[in-house]
Symmetry: C2
DNA sequence: TCTAAATATGGTATCGGTTACACATTCTGC
DNA sequence: GCAGAATGTGTAACCGATACCATATTTAGA
């Protein structure tokens, strides 16, 4: 492979000049520039990113840390992150943590050694100590959803509480009179805030009872199990708000298996707005977060931070939107 | 950040010795080793991957090139790739091509500059010229599904033709007498081979007609449109084999919208075995590829190749398996 | 006891870039 | 016509590792 010195020799200039041409900085005469560019062409020269990174202290690499890329929510985020990164000339490194603190630690270590320019965490296992350490190591980071308490860092998130209330209001508006909630892990901000939103929205009703809440681990399986328990416990439930779409999908499946018409007897709404909510029949109503936008915004912020732009806000909150579709009463024909 | 020289100084040895300790090669006295390790601890030393890559010609990085990470098939592959890579100490860089040759070219360029140790292509846009170029540049690669014709390279794939026949046989076995096919893009080996498998399996039947085949672009939308057209054209269709699960999912949705009972009036089977086939009611019968295994195997092969192991086979074919579930007749209770 | 092999360690060139600094030439404005 | 800024280019130190080679000491075998 040709090196910068080969190019310099062929173009009969110094390596410094070639470097200037490559990076388009400093003064270079127009003809010299052309000469150099010809040499580059001729030699099929490609600058070595390793050498560049070593000398220039920039690797043009971002680390994306998430629980599991095969979860559709995260793969949509990942897609957005990569798109924006690519646009700005950055490369994305993928890290699956399975929400395991040890794995996360290992990745942080490895990414530090790799001198990634920045890190994006879509993971609830991030610890305050890590944030401080990364700050000290001068590695910019952006956190999706939630940062550890008491440490300053950039966060991009959605209005979970508001979204939960939106969901409940929609169920009430479409005639539901007894609404259950399938909630996500309470270690996650997402799971917790949506649960709180639900409670705040329903606790003043006479029918409210804590037994209307059931955990579903943010998974399809969990959603199925929770729906089954809920319907057994309270056969008169006529609305279910699931804390994310996967659990809602599971609940839908279980209800269909039990022969309970959706939305005929039970209305169902999820949260997130992943694509999969459109593949079922009926389509799933949901509180949509702008998933792609969240990933894209987070990445743009991260890159700004890397490039030294001062950012005022610490937390960026994204709006959520009610998608009323077939799984909630009165919307059987919606979304077609 | 501490460097190897800081460690050397603190431990009162040379950098060469520290390097030996780090890489566990060459002769090092036991006590010296401990001294060095203590210094490493004390300084919280982390070797700089850039420097290592530059000096040692190994970056411990793999590039994963695929059309779109948000497609569940590919995100499952990606998960497998990253798991295995992580296990062997490699880092995975993500590249979404959208099956766009230009984008792919750009990525190949960028990855060459980054001196990735190997590349994994799960993309049908790879051109013969690229393979040759990568060979010349001495960058190992593994291709999922299909390599360009006439170039030697490692391929990991599934038995598509056989799988298609398995699907048809299953539909016939469960009583179908007029089977349609929704096929994928014919530029892809996957799409083509499954279509051929279908044709070979059904062309001897009196009911066979080319109008029983309809393209569906491997997408949910495409599957819906195709199912609609097919049912309009041949209302007596009682079985549909879709060339992948996404199209089958789309077809299922459309059939349900049209009020056509599945599997009551039409049996439906997909191909791939993605997780999503389990979220519908009825669950989708499918010809399952071992998706995770494919990704994992491809990665293991790639790493072997990187580490200089001679590999005999050029093509590794994976077995496919019939998953008879609710969407095909006689299996309404299956999978519960 | 002598020699060759095994063990242990250090010095330093090298990988392929960036960039500070030095030096030369050409513009400008007064 | 000249000072000082703007333009243009080269030299070489440096980034932080690896690894080749040299050298010194121990060990083992004959």
């Amino acid at each position: 492979m040709a090196t910068i010195r080969d190019v310099a020799k062929l173009a009969a200039v110094s390596v410094a000049t070639v470097s200037r041409v490559l990076n388009n900085n400093g003064y270079v005469n127009k003809e010299t520039k052309e000469k150099v560019q010809q040499a580059i062409q001729l030699l099929q020269y490609e600058p070595n990113t390793m050498a560049k990174g070593l000398a220039g202290k920039k690797t043009e690499t971002l680390a994306l840390v998430l629980p599991d890329i095969s979860n559709p929510f995260f793969s949509e985020v990942a897609r957005a992150v990569e798109d924006v990164a690519q646009l700005y000339g950055y490369t994305v490194v993928l890290c699956n943590t399975d929400s395991d603190t040890d794995k996360e630690q290992t990745y942080i270590q490895v990414m530090k050694r790799r001198y990634v320019d920045g890190m994006l965490f879509a993971s609830n296992t991030l610890r305050a100590a890590d944030v401080l350490m990364l700050n000290k190591a001068n590695i910019p980071l952006v956190v999706l959803d939630r940062a550890p308490a008491n440490v300053p860092c950039l966060v991009v998130r959605s209005k979970n509480n508001e979204g939960a209330k939106l969901a409940i209001r929609h169920l009430l508006d479409t005639g539901c009179r007894r609404i259950a909630h399938i909630y996500g892990p309470q270690e996650t901000a997402t799971g917790k805030e949506r649960l709180i939103g639900y409670e705040e929205a329903v606790r003043s009703f006479p029918w409210y009872s804590p037994t209307l809440m059931e955990p579903g681990q943010f998974s399809i399986q969990g959603g199925m199990a929770a729906a089954e328990k809920l319907m057994e416990r309270h056969p008169d439930i006529d609305g279910i708000f699931a804390g994310n779409d996967l659990m809602a999908l599971g609940a839908l499946k279980k209800l269909q298996q039990l022969g309970i018409p959706v939305p005929g007897r039970v209305s169902l709404i999820g949260f997130d707005g992943i694509e999969l909510t459109r593949i079922t029949e009926p389509e799933l109503s949901t509180i949509a977060q702008p998933i792609y936008e969240i990933g894209a915004t987070a990445t743009r912020l991260l890159i700004k931070k890397i490039e030294g732009v001062q950012l005022e806000n610490e937390t960026y909150e994204c709006e959520v939107e009610l998608m009323a579709r077939g799984s909630t009463r009165g919307n059987a024909e919606a979304g077609r």
